[in-house]
């Protein structure tokens, strides 16, 4: 059970939007996490260092949260092997859909891309259905 919050999501979302703005206006790049990290696995000339630095920034941000706001991560709800499998599935799925929540859901929707709208509606609906099946039909999951 989680409690409804408004201000922290709004502030966090504003930071995400500011990050995407920074990357777009200063570097001319779309802040799609899956695409940025995916590009590291298929290295192209001149495309590696900024992607690696963005990923390093993400990890540094995670380290800062872990140090000064450990509650941001909460207690682990599933085992580590399951987390690894889930992470691999997220990576596979986001490349299959050529974008993730940040690329399609934030950057794509902000530029009124119909393709991103279709992608966002699809993955949100699919995630909700998956949650429904796992939690309410199978009675499993955290």
């Amino acid at each position: 059970m989680t409690s409804f919050t408004v201000w922290s999501p709004l502030v966090g979302g504003a930071l995400i939007g500011a990050s995407a703005s920074m990357l777009l206006l200063l570097n001319g790049r779309i802040a799609g996490i899956s695409g940025i990290v995916g590009g590291l696995l298929r290295p192209e000339e001149g495309e590696v260092s900024w992607r690696a630095m963005f990923a390093a920034g993400l990890l540094a941000g995670g380290a800062i949260l872990h140090r000064w706001a450990p509650a941001s991560f909460g207690a682990p709800t599933v085992s580590m092997p399951l987390v690894i499998v889930a992470g691999l599935l997220v990576g596979f799925g986001t490349r299959l859909g050529s974008g993730c929540t940040s690329g399609h859901g934030v950057c794509g929707l902000a530029r009124l891309s119909r393709r991103s709208l279709a992608a966002t509606l699809t993955f949100m609906a699919t995630a909700a259905i998956t949650t429904f099946v796992v939690r309410h039909l199978l009675g499993g999951g955290p």
Partner: protein, 76 residues
Amino acid sequence: MRRTDLVAFAAGLVFAIGLGVAGMTQPPKVLAFLDVAGAWDPSLAFVMVSAIGVLKNDRSRNAAPTVTAVSASNRR
């Protein structure tokens, strides 16, 4: 170090802090957002609304003609 690398690092850092502040790093919160048939917690909808609002506002104030070319070449 090149300027684009510094910008990318700063953007990644701010993005991660934003995820944490928003509550998106807490799996129970994300699951509660997706669990529309259970104890639905719509909080995380505000994350997307806010992020899009900030990005859209910045974009309209700084018309960037390179955007379409960039997004076409940069598969998300």
